[in-house]
Amino acid sequence: MQPADLKFSKARAYQLARRAVLFSSLSLAVLTPLWRLGNIERESAGVAAQGTRVVIADRLPDVASPMLGAPWTVRVFGIEFMDPLAAIGLAVAGGFPLGAWLGVLLPLVLVAALGRFFCGWLCPYLPLLALSNSVRALLARLGLALPDVRLPKRAGFMLLAVVLISAAVGGTQLGALLYPPSLLGRELFRYIFYGTCGTGALLILAVFLFDTFVARAGFCRSLCPGGALFRILGGASPITVKRVAPDCTACTACDVVCNLGQKPMTDQIDSGCDRCGKCISVCPTGALHFGIETTAKSTSFALRKGMR
């Protein structure tokens, strides 16, 4: 059985909602740079109209901007939001003011409640992952079975540690170069502003090739430092996929459809679940559903659960 053979017949509203959220986030990622480019071109035109090339900004026409930046760190109507990976990288580098955490609070609360749902609902890499899976399915149909290497789960946590330690010794914010949402947002901006791609495009290509030819969704599953962070922070999330055992026919559809190596059919769901709900949607007998898990009692337990 291939993931491409499976039909989403259940929980259609859930998949529709997920795709709508993903589509709006992708649209914003494309429309914001276009709109911003229009803004600065209008500003430059204003400068040219004043007949001087040298302008210190109190003479520049100010264009009001309700939105600034890509999702990695965005300002909406004056409120700053920041990706937890960026925020923690800055915090360990020292001098991330307490007030700045306000904009990280919302993502943190969402992750604590919902686990690594960003990965399944918002990550701009998802369309590329879908493409990678299609290439894999196509090649499999042509008789070329690609490997699906299972890297140890700790690889992602190691990468996260490298990111945080290199930031802590005051070196560099490596997360920006290893985290697909950051890379993709920036490359979109760069392409729209300058018409060129940067080294970031090569890094994205490397992730894509790895996912296609080495391990299915291998980067998301076991390398992404952001995913690893969300696993730790969302370890206490009570929301998980539950199975009604008598309804289950052990058809393996749910295990096959999962990009992240979860095994709902045998009730083996860990912090790697991105709440995409595809397993629920493909289950032919409707034996799977989202439920509340109440085993996580303490934070330390949750942290250990997240690392598992």
């Binding site: 930046g69 003011p97 070196g171 920006a176």
Partner: protein, 189 residues
């Protein structure tokens, strides 16, 4: 934690420290956006593109080299100088750039991006090949950062007064290309 876990943790720690220290040691040859303070800037920039996003002359670009400096913003003054509008400092979410008022007096006091290096053997005025004065006309601090001397009205820069915006480098005619703005850090350390 078992032995393999410990080993991985140690490996990650060593790699992290090695990469971090390597990034710290680097001396940049890039002209960074205004208020970027060398090592502190490079340690805090999360490469979000927001400084480039708000830059009216599109002077800010992102490093495309294959090094740890990938995608850090810089200014290629030969193509586009900084108009000192200070919008990038206001857009920066991390403190890699320090918000600064776009007031010409404050900018003069607090911005020290680079220092001008003039190759007199290339300068039209210094060579006696004509009267050019373009650098003087575009300078936001004429008579302070650059003065005109002699019968050919040749430019004389005062690095202590120059903010390093690079507008003169941009303006310097392509037949001369006599001015280079070097990052202050690369010159004075």
């Amino acid at each position: 934690m078992n032995r393999r876990g410990l080993l991985s943790a140690a490996l990650a720690a060593i790699a992290g420290v090695a990469i971090g220290l390597r990034a710290r040691k680097r001396r940049t040859h890039f002209l960074r956006p205004p208020t970027a303070d060398g090592a502190a800037f490079e340690a805090r920039c999360i490469r979000c593109f927001r400084c480039a996003e708000v830059c009216p002359p599109k002077a800010i670009r992102l490093d495309g080299s294959l090094a740890l400096t990938i995608d850090l913003p810089y200014i290629e003054a030969a193509e586009r100088g900084c108009t000192l509008c200070m919008k990038c400092t206001e857009a920066c979410p991390t403190g890699a750039l320090t918000p600064t008022a776009p007031d010409s007096r404050i900018v003069h006091q607090s911005i020290k991006m680079g220092v001008p290096i003039l190759a007199r053997d290339r300068c039209i005025s210094w060579r006696g090949a004509g009267v050019c004065r373009l650098c003087y006309y575009v300078c936001p601090y004429p008579d302070t950062a650059v003065a005109l001397v002699g019968p050919q009205q040749a430019p004389l820069f005062d690095p202590a007064q120059c903010v390093g915006c690079g507008l003169c480098e941009e303006a310097c005619p392509s037949i001369a290309r006599a001015i280079r703005i070097l990052p202050r850090r690369a010159v004075v350390g």
